[in-house]
């Protein structure tokens, strides 16, 4: 079976994110003061094959935990989509 995993990795709320702060400053400079909050995260799409939904789930979870996110300061969430065939 083919799957597409859509993964979002974000900082934990207690972590100061200088990147998001910088964007907010830039928006102010662009006179876009009506933007009240900015979150800046990472987004991944992985295509993978697995024997079952459960197997794909376990694997993506491991990839997030060990590679894509640093759980000391980041959280992650993902969705799995089953695909009829490999996209290109």
């Amino acid at each position: 079976m083919n799957f597409l995993a859509k993964i979002h990795v974000n900082y934990k709320p207690s972590v100061l994110d200088p990147k998001a702060e910088a964007i907010k400053t830039a928006l102010t400079r662009m006179s876009m003061d009506n933007v009240s909050s900015v979150l800046y995260g990472k987004y991944f799409e992985l295509e993978l094959t697995a024997d079952s939904v459960a197997a794909a789930n376990t694997q993506v979870d491991r990839i997030c935990d060990e590679l894509l996110a640093n759980v000391n300061m980041e959280t992650y969430r993902f969705e799995l989509e089953e695909q009829s065939e490999v996209r290109e």
């Binding site: 200088p18 990147k19 910088a22 964007i23 400053t25 830039a26 400079r29 662009m30 800046y40």
Partner: protein, 228 residues
Amino acid sequence: MRAAVLSFPGSNCDRDLLWALDTMSGIDSELVPASAEHLDNYDLVCVPGGFSYGDYLRSGAIARFSPVMSSLREHADRGGLVLGICNGFQILCEAGLLPGALQWNRNLNFICEPEPLRVVNTDSAFSNVYSQDQEIVLPIAHGEGNYYAAPDTLAKIEANGQVIFRYVDNPNGSLNDIAGLTNAAGNVLGMMPHPERAVEQLLGGTDGLGVFASLKAQCEEATTNAAR
């Protein structure tokens, strides 16, 4: 000849560049903050290296919204000379004053080392004292110096002879080994290597002096022509 060195919050090569222009090349220069609203009275405006506004989104992405940028654009449109080095190059690309963009180095690492370059076009305000295909060594120090432009843009750049410096051993994955290039009009140059770090033998070499000497020669010629 008068030169301005722009100083954005987070610029960190501004003073080095000022020293290279003023003390080492005898070009009357001063620092101008990014909050400035005018750039009249300058023949040359330099955009220095560093991490403007932290460079957190993409290098140079936020600096382009600084107040001084509209005056810089006017200066460039008037045909004034603009030299962007490292972060300055990134800012000029982000601001659309130069084509293309600078992406993460191919190996994803910041690289600081002396880099051999070839001067591939000496018919430019920035390189006229070098000899054609001369090999020079300038330090590089960047994480995002991997030059990218869409294929049609790249073809145009090459056809116009806008590439001035190419890497001899491409360190970062730049397309066509591009280390420095000008806009179509030839008055705006962006380069990743740091000529201002190669102006004293004590610190390892003087190959960068040629960039400043070229600019000086260009301005003097312009003045002479105007006087005629």
